[in-house]
Symmetry: none
């Protein structure tokens, strides 16, 4: 289900966060769908439970998932228009990366193509409901 690269320089818990976000964004994980438990995922991925815990906690903080005491973790329904500070931070990151991309020679066309790629993946996910 999740594929992690333990050799990567990126911390495992961050990789896990990104994977879950990606699946939520692509509609692979639907709203209110239950996520695997910490214990299950830990043994499936042969990763320390604390690492899974840390990823879930961060996903909850960012509003991607919510947890019910004793029941488990679930995907949050999309709530657009909130998280203004989160959006501001993301905007800065995007600016930084775009500036670097333009400097390295990316054209407006290439960047536009990246955007369209994102849109397509999103629609494909939504149609498979």
């Amino acid at each position: 289900m999740f594929e992690l690269d333990v050799r990567s320089r990126k911390p495992i818990y961050e990789q896990l966060i990104d994977k879950v976000k990606e699946m939520v964004q692509h509609g692979i994980l639907q709203a209110d769908e239950q996520l695997p438990s910490v214990r299950t995922l830990s043994s499936q991925l042969t990763v320390n439970p604390n690492t899974i815990q840390k990823a879930y906690r961060e996903l909850e903080r960012e509003g991607y998932i919510y947890s019910l005491q004793g029941k488990g973790s679930f995907v949050s329904p999309l709530q657009q228009g909130q998280n203004e500070s989160q959006k501001a931070e993301l905007r800065n990151e995007l600016l930084r990366l775009m500036a670097e991309a333009v400097y390295l020679g990316f054209t407006a066309l290439e960047i536009g193509a990246l955007y369209r790629q994102v849109e397509e993946q999103r629609e494909r996910g939504n149609n498979s409901d």
Copy 2:
């Protein structure tokens, strides 16, 4: 000249790398212009010389600056069309952030605006020669 946040979670040397890149990308630092010496910057920022050196070394590795032995560090002239692996990595990062942005409700217009903002800053830098 450079403003650092020593309390940030982002390492000082990375903050410095980003600042220098930004100034190069915006044309604030021009090609072949000399950067402050490791020692000078170290005392200006009250940061250890090794930390500055680490940042400069990474900037050199990424092709943003070069150093002349016994003379100091200088801004590299722009050489587009190289660093293919660097560009591939950047493309992935951009995809990831855009997907997150779209999910959080950014519209195509907003993202286009970010791109135009990058372009404007670049032109403003180049015109101030």
Copy 3:
């Protein structure tokens, strides 16, 4: 295990890099085998941890080793056919040294013998699995 010459003109971290490469090339260190930790090696060699870390970091950059977060450093399995720029640089170095060797009177036979020596050490290492 490793012998260093602290009085040599060659930096300690470079000596260490060369030693590790040699042991990997000769099969003394096998793929996915764990290297001594930075701290352990540091105290064994009575060399500062930062110096060991610098060597390990460069070895990782060159693809000879990889590190698992919180677990340690390990020998990379051999992946031929990559690192084209690395190979190009090496080719130039070899050309330079061979030209010097020929000038100093090395015969084709002697140089061929060196090559066979390399091959033999490699096979001896692989057979001792």
Copy 4:
């Protein structure tokens, strides 16, 4: 005459040493031919005289050139079969580089081709006497 890369990480004096050796090995500089004076070369290359001095001193130490008091520096005639310690050191360097080359996937054919390339350049130089 000499082309130096001041941006290279390799010290200028070493680059100069290599260039002179190369020209001697290829027969471009003939035995007993006079080299440019330190002062001349210094202004031609816009390099510090001390740097040229250092290169010439090292070339003399290695037996590539000799200097006559007040007259200048001259190319040494080839004296094969001497410098045993020099040859031993060179043999070690060659072994080290070849081992790395083989590890990175160089074939015996490729290495043989490098040797033939050296031989050809040598003959071309000798025929142009």
